[in-house]
């Protein structure tokens, strides 16, 4: 081979503590090195030109640049050598800045280390092979998982951009958490009034295919070519017939069914339409409460339904859709306050959660917007809000801040005063987090205009005294214990990952943090991408966030999909695993361990069964290579022989 070596000074960044001339001189002695030089700024345009000239003049077929981290400039130099006619993978970098000059003080030792690193890079590049990406066709449908505000926004943006959208929502209606809210901060505008039209848009958009009351069963494939199995859960009502007239709800004799939309604060009927603005506005039966299912007889709804839509025999159905990209917008759940024993573990009727309170405030809620406390339906006069219930609490496994509680507490306290002018609200808080536009002003208004009393300290215990709830907390500003006798206590439960988030992540092959929130590619620069190509994130599934942020991410994810789909063909990274069929012994270990299901068995023309890499699915982690006992499957660019050559180059120096 004919290898060229280029040692970069990086101004004084490298040359200050590494004798670059010596490194370049030493590199001349390495096998296959026919050209070696040093340069002030190799990454600069003239620096790159010098490499290209050397490639042509010296007929180089391999290049090593010793400079900064490959994470910085590997792509730069790959393009450089490619422009000079060399395959971009016939290039290696030795990181002598971040790993040498910047971390070592002894110039002699640094120089020695740099020489070693260059020797190792040369040894490796000797074994590099030209690699070529493959192109494949893209299916331009997009799957959006989750029909909350983030998912809806993403779906609408994609659909408006001309893409076919499959929107899957596990609840009977889209709308998500936002549909349950009364008002939104900091503008106090009616939540459903702004969301409702959007929901209608989604429901009516010709490019959006809606699957509600459905869940993702299985996902296979890769960017551009995913296949998704969707489970349509049985509703026991034929939605092609149901008109949403609501007659069944009126006549249903089972009126004590749990109402998830109202967070259990009031019951509903066994057959129900979740809420008036639901999209689609269709009825479904909850078999846990329906007499037909429990007792085997009733059938009132079937008799009453004017369009004969009731079907007690209905089964779940699996449908398959093909898409090219996936936007995950599965949202969040709320912390289960019954885990907190010192707050009564959900046993006190007058200690409720903030989302329940939201339903009490809501004009379409069970109390028609009148605040009545659950134990005796009386109007509470003293209301205590407790912040950080299931947030910032390591002992409960939720050390993080839930982001939006401070704001909704302020909103609820303001609304409380609006509803009950002679009421007094108190808020136990630890820190007020109001960094959004107009947020701080909003919280100030709660205190200044609405007289909400903020007490800085956590609540230790809530218990009953007569018909009052005693809230014992501290006022850390005073340095004392405080006690309040409240009529109603509202616990601001924090956001946790949606139930099933981890399972879905595994189906999608994306990663999640210890709490079950999905991890983005880069926390700053790639906030809506995941490390799995073609899978994007929007909204609170990535971490607690408020409505504007969720909507923003929905649009961002949609724009990522639109730009991905702007090409008809995609290129795959060729740094993937490759099977030497002669060596493969069909032991199946690679198939078993591949995190992407990218390896399958195939029969060679000789009749031998061997492993085979699905090139577009392989992500190049190399786990298979480390697993393969005969070394038959090799991750190109990181083969056993290449790594062994690096080891050898160091130890046999």
């Amino acid at each position: 081979m004919r290898i060229g070596v280029f040692i970069c000074h990086c101004g004084s960044n490298i040359a200050g503590t590494v004798d670059v001339k010596k490194v370049a001189e030493e590199a001349k002695r390495f096998p296959h090195v026919v050209y070696s030089t040093d340069y002030m700024y190799t990454c600069s345009e003239p620096g790159q030109l010098e490499i290209q000239e050397a490639i042509k003049k010296e007929k180089l077929d391999g290049v090593v640049v010793a400079s900064c981290s490959p994470r910085m400039h590997e792509n730069t130099f790959r393009r450089t050598v490619e422009k000079a006619g060399l395959n971009r993978y016939m290039f290696e970098m030795a990181n002598i800045r971040e790993h040498v000059s910047w971390v070592g003080v002894d110039k002699e030792a640094n120089t020695k280390k740099a020489i070693d690193l260059v020797r190792m890079a040369v040894a490796k590049v000797t074994l590099n092979q030209p690699l070529f990406p493959k192109s494949f066709k893209v299916n331009k449908n997009v799957l959006v998982i989750g029909g909350g505000v983030a998912g809806m926004q993403a779906a609408l943006d994609c659909a408006d951009g001309g893409l076919k959208v499959i929107l899957v929502e596990k609840n009977p209606s889209i709308g998500g958490k936002m549909a349950k809210l009364d008002k939104t901060f900091p503008t106090i505008d009616c939540s459903i009034c702004i969301l409702g039209p959007k929901m209608v848009d989604v429901g009516q958009h010709e490019n959006i295919k809606l699957y509600t009351y459905s869940e993702i069963e299985e996902i296979s494939g890769y960017v551009g070519n995913y296949e998704v199995k969707i489970r349509k859960k049985a509703t026991y009502v034929d939605w092609t017939k149901c008109t949403g007239c609501g007659l069944c709800m009126e006549k249903c004799p089972s009126k004590k069914a749990f109402d998830p939309f109202n967070e259990g604060i009031a019951p509903t009927t066994a057959i129900n339409i979740p809420f008036p603005q639901a999209i689609p506005k269709k009825a479904k039966i909850d078999p846990n409460y329906c007499r037909q299912f429990i007792k085997g007889k009733c059938g009132v709804c079937a008799k009453i339904c004017p369009v004969q839509a009731i079907d007690y025999e209905m089964q779940d159905e699996i449908v398959t859709e093909k898409v090219g990209a996936i936007i995950v917008a599965t949202g969040y759940s709320l912390f289960d306050h019954t885990k907190i024993k010192e707050y009564g573990a959900g046993k006190y009727l007058d200690v409720i959660t903030s989302i329940q309170y939201e339903r009490l405030l809501n004009a379409s809620g069970p109390t028609s917007g009148h605040i009545l406390r659950p134990s005796d339906n009386k109007e509470p006069k003293t209301i205590v809000f407790v912040a950080c219930v299931g947030s910032r609490d390591k002992s409960l496994g939720v050390p993080y801040c839930s982001n939006f509680c401070c704001m909704y507490i302020a909103k609820q306290a303001i609304l409380t005063k609006d509803h009950i002018p002679d009421s007094q609200s108190y808020v136990f808080y630890m820190d007020i987090r109001a960094p959004g536009k107009g947020y701080e002003e909003f919280v100030r208004r709660a205190q200044e205009e609405y007289g909400v009393k903020y007490i800085r300290g956590r609540v230790s215990r809530i218990f009953k005294r007569g018909d009052k709830m005693v809230v014992r907390g501290s006022d850390t500003l005073l340095g004392t214990q405080v006690e309040l006798e409240a009529d109603l206590v509202v616990l601001a439960t924090g956001a946790i990952a949606e139930e099933g988030a981890r399972e879905l992540a595994e189906k999608l092959r994306i990663s999640y943090d210890p709490y079950g929130f999905y991890i983005e590619s880069h926390p700053k620069l790639r906030p809506v991408e995941t490390n799995t190509a073609g899978v994007f994130l929007a909204g609170a599934c990535q971490g607690p966030k408020d409505i504007p942020a969720s909507v923003g991410q929905g649009s961002a994810a949609a724009s990522k999909v639109l730009s991905l789909f702007s090409k008809d063909l995609l290129e795959s990274d060729p740094q993937i695993a490759h099977v030497n069929e002669m060596l493969c012994v069909d032991c199946k270990k690679c198939i078993q361990t591949c995190p992407y299901g990218a390896i399958e068995e195939k029969k060679t023309p000789m009749g031998k069964i061997v492993a085979s890499v699905i090139e577009t699915v392989c992500q190049g982690c190399g786990l298979c290579t480390a697993t393969c006992p005969p070394g038959a499957i090799q991750l190109q660019q990181f083969t056993d022989n290449q790594l062994l050559a690096e080891v050898k180059a160091f130890f046999h120096a």
């Binding site: 002669m582 060596l583 493969c584 012994v585 032991c587 199946k588 270990k589 078993q592 361990t593 697993t627 006992p629 005969p630 070394g631 038959a632 090799q634 083969t639 056993d640 022989n641 062994l644």
Partner: protein, 319 residues
Amino acid sequence: MTDREEKISELIKNELNNVDFFIAYGRGYDPIHVKPLFVYEEKDLDDLVMNIFCVHNNASYLKTVKDKKVGIVVKGCDSRAVVQLIQEGLINRDNLRIIGIPCTGVISIKKLKEKMDISRVTEAKVESDSVIIKTSDEEKRFEKDDLLADKCLWCQYPTPVIYDHLVGETIEPSRPKELEYKIVEEMEKEDLNVRFEYWNKELSRCIRCYACRNVCPMCVCQDQCVMESRNPHWISLKSNITEKVMIQLIHAIHLAGRCVSCGECERVCPMDIPIFKIKQKMNQIVEELFDYKAGIDLEATPPLYTFQVEEAKIKEREW
């Protein structure tokens, strides 16, 4: 022929229609050397034996006859290899007919060799707990336990864990499990440098014949093994100590969580290198870390080809 041999013979006869051949045990060149017997037709059964000298693990052959329908006679320890092979999808249960032999132990020829000159054995028999060996010039009687292979002294699977036919009654394990890793524990009483030198000395005898690997029922790479393929270039063909150590480390690592403790690697070593110790250490680690023993459960996954998100016994932030 003993009753047991008659019974096995009968079973094989009946099964021969269902398989391409049967692997049993046959007479070798003297009474204490038995050989694996490949039965293609009835007359091959004339040589059949089943006794305390049937040391071989017949499952070792399964990897080489993947596409055939095979019958096999297995002892308890051998059967674990069958289970492990099926578990890993390396052989197909449907292609197998298994005759299980409950076993109370097999003789270690090496141990016997230490106790007497075995070059002229004319007769060998077992009487209750004794083994009697006759040669042209003498007759010796041994306590059976003194001659049994080490693995038999802590055997927990005297009855095969998988079979289609069982010849004889199920035997409950009666050997002390604590002895399983005795050889390992004894080694670990020594200092690191003593161990280092011990292996240098023992492994220096290695002649790179690869018998340990070829006999290993779980070594499925065989002809493609990196110990000799030179691609990937893990080792050279030199017969120096580094490469000899490397060979054993490759074997141990490739077998981690898969080794069924049949001890064949050590039995076949022509240079009498105690390599089973190495495998047992690996088995002990795997058992400690993952509560797993290979070749017991058809549904299990070898621990190094799976994982737990939270590992109960691996400390995460030690380093």
